[in-house]
């Protein structure tokens, strides 16, 4: 086991896969010589050269359109969109093309590609650099959607995403880049579509994603210590496919569900999880399902304001206590 940062795990996964498969290439803005604006891909160009690791002009449609064409003709591209907010300037390629062309070609075309992007708030970057947009991707049939919370998952899930025959949108939470954790040595691949139970409890199930996971874990500690409430914490990890088995099992046992999402209130991923649980497990529930979200506003850049609107440990605790009462 080695200690890696979330940021280092990104290049560890890409380089692992590039060594194993010479069809894997990597493109994006400022990713090669500079190693990424978040320093997630340092050393890749030095190891794999300027043909396999390329800087592109500033043109997101070009990045994703080219990744699509290359995937259709035998490469396995990993493409970076610097900030997930900028999916908005190239969404046609993702939604109308990458996501639909297998369907529209009766399975002839396939898209073994990964689009990585720095997602989410907490870095004081303001409304156009801080959005959590994994719910946009979840709403599009044909995409897989992954958002890891730990360095080990970054490495394992990114490697699996690169090997996957279908297009994966891989959301890295930018406020987690500096966090560290144990990452298994050697080849590391973690299957997609499996949630992970990080803490077992009997009173309530807290379901989180990416940066909300460490907050949910902290909240669970406080709930136990200060309120005598025992919480299960589940890291969803993959929104599509969604591991309903793990979530349902836990909610059946605890009877209570709290989702913690960074998405703005309307149509965040927690709404989908809540609706599934309401449909399937209504009779097992002992109280209303609660969603802790960002309000339905863009994220502000001021630190105090951003802290005020992103789900906090306190807010999770208060919501769970209210539910358990």
């Amino acid at each position: 086991m080695a200690q890696l940062s979330y940021r280092e795990a990104v290049s560890a996964a890409i380089s692992q896969e590039m060594r194993l498969d010479d069809r894997v290439v990597f493109i994006g803005e400022d990713v090669a010589a500079a190693g990424g604006v978040f320093k997630t891909t340092e050393g890749l160009q030095a190891e794999f050269g300027p043909v396999r690791v390329r800087d592109t002009p500033i043109a997101e449609q070009a990045i994703l359109g080219a990744a699509m064409g290359a995937a259709m003709t035998g490469l396995r591209p990993v493409a970076e969109i610097m900030f997930s907010d900028f999916f908005a300037v190239c969404w046609d390629i993702v939604v109308n093309q990458i996501a639909k062309t297998r369907f529209m070609s009766a399975g002839q075309c396939s898209f073994p590609l990964v689009i990585r992007s720095a997602n989410g708030g907490g870095a004081r970057f303001g409304a156009q650099h801080s959005q959590s947009v994994e719910n946009w991707a979840m709403a599009v049939p044909g995409l897989k959607v992954v958002a890891p919370s730990s360095p080990a998952d970054v490495k394992g899930l990114l490697a699996a995403s690169i090997r996957d025959p279908d297009p994966v949108l891989f959301f890295e939470q930018k406020s987690l880049y500096g966090t560290k954790g144990e990452v298994p040595d050697g080849e590391c691949v973690e299957p997609l579509g499996k949630a992970k139970v990080l803490r077992e409890g009997s009173d309530v199930t807290i379901v989180g994603l990416a940066a909300m996971v460490p907050k949910a874990l902290k909240a669970a500690e406080i709930l136990q210590d200060k309120h005598g409430i025992s919480a299960t914490v589940i890291d969803v990890r993959s929104l599509v496919p969604l591991d309903t088995t793990t979530i349902f099992e836990s909610v059946s046992a605890t009877g209570r569900l709290v989702t913690v999402e960074e998405n703005p209130r309307l149509c965040g991923w927690g709404a989908e999880v809540s609706s599934l649980v309401a449909e399937e497990l209504f009779w097992d529930l002992e109280g209303p399902i609660v969603r802790v979200t960002t309000p339905h506003i863009p994220l502000p850049s001021a630190d105090a304001l951003e802290d005020a609107v992103l789900p906090s440990v306190d807010r999770i605790v208060e919501n769970v206590v209210r539910l358990a009462d």
Partner: protein, 358 residues
């Protein structure tokens, strides 16, 4: 990339040695006027380094320095009329300052306060645009509104060299060209887009050439030459005002600083390139020119700098003394009329803020 090319005009009047070309356009031979522009440039430079210091001491957020762009910024603003509209990129706050946006507003913006984009003047100018190149389209839209109402106003979009790779840039020139919209697309070619040099951005021999396919005129000027910048902007704006349609103006300069305060350009570019560019930067030649006309010297500069520093200190104090934006403000500015669903969320956010303070 070459400065000159057979089919693209290249303007330079104030040479790096401080000599003003005798062919310089009439109206640029009054050294007092150049001195006025130079004072603005100085003010921008002092403000810029102050802003960097504020970021370094934790009093400002990430900030993109315009170090080296001062002649381009002052020249663009000097050619515009008050009633024109500016659509700036994030780096060109210097143009905004010259248009009348206050220093405190610029600082508020980079300090993370959305009120920094609520300018007291100029009310019609657009806020900073962060998604690269999209402001070019917004400017085309403003020009469409001016044309629609038969107003004699122009829109000016300021974009970077890297920004010329985006589809939005081409689409803006195309729609403006076909409708002869009164808009000027300024490209500040500072040779770098974060870590990517302009040679890795395009194979076009100049960025001004990109105008040709849109059927509009492209022109280049030495962006470190305040006389050339102002002149080619004046020409382009006059043409646009008379119904002659858009122009692409490429201003060639150099980003002397890091991309932003969180960047370290030493990771990807050579110091000797920066040193060469520093010899050509805009202040040296303007200072030499004014000195040759006996209207500028070190003493005058020192006096002016002191005055600048005082003004800037006052703006900084004003910025630092501005009470932080309240949580409810974020909600209040979402819609003209607040939907009921948001009322509840606002109450919730205020509740959690109050708990945090306990």
């Amino acid at each position: 990339m070459s400065d000159s090319s057979a089919d693209i005009r290249y303007l330079r009047f104030l040479k790096p040695n401080g000599e003003l070309d005798k062919d310089a356009p009439t109206g640029s031979h009054d050294p007092n006027e150049i001195a006025d522009l130079f004072r603005r440039m100085l003010e921008l430079r002092v403000f810029d380094s102050k802003a960097i210091n504020l970021q370094r001491t934790g009093k400002l957020g990430t900030y993109p320095s315009w170090y080296g762009h001062e002649a381009a910024q002052v020249g663009v603003a000097a050619a515009m009329k008050k009633e024109d509209v500016l659509a700036p990129s994030y780096r060109e706050g210097g143009v905004m300052l010259c248009r009348g946006v206050s220093m405190a507003e610029i600082l508020l913006y980079w300090g993370g306060d959305e009120r920094g984009s609520d300018f007291a003047v100029p009310r019609d100018d657009f806020p900073y645009c962060v998604p690269i190149a999209t402001q070019c389209l917004h400017a085309a839209g403003a020009a469409m509104a001016f044309q629609h109402r038969g107003e004699s106003r122009c829109a000016v979009a300021v974009n970077g060299d890297g920004g010329t790779s985006e589809g939005a840039f081409y689409e803006a020139m195309n729609i403006a060209g076909v409708r002869k919209l009164p808009v000027v697309f300024v490209v500040i070619n500072n040779q770098w887009a974060i870590s990517v040099p302009v040679a890795a951005q395009t194979s076009s021999s100049t960025l001004a050439h990109k105008a040709i396919a849109a059927g509009i005129e492209g022109v280049q000027a030495d962006g470190n030459d305040i006389v050339a910048v102002r002149h080619c902007m004046r020409e382009a704006l006059e043409k646009a005002r008379k119904g002659g349609g858009p122009t692409l103006v490429e201003l060639i300069t150099y980003r002397l600083g890091d991309h932003t305060t969180v960047d370290d350009a030493g990771r990807y570019r050579q110091q000797d390139e920066v040193d060469t560019a520093s010899d050509l930067e805009p202040f040296i030649r303007t200072r030499k020119y004014l000195a040759s006309k006996n209207i500028w010297d070190t003493q005058l500069e020192e006096q002016f700098l002191e005055q600048c520093t005082n003004n800037i200190e006052a703006a900084v104090n004003n910025y630092l003394a501005t009470p932080k934006e309240a949580v409810e403000q974020m909600f209040n500015h979402m819609y003209a009329e607040m939907p009921e669903s948001l009322l509840a969320q606002r109450a919730h956010a205020i509740h959690f803020c109050d708990t945090d303070k306990d």
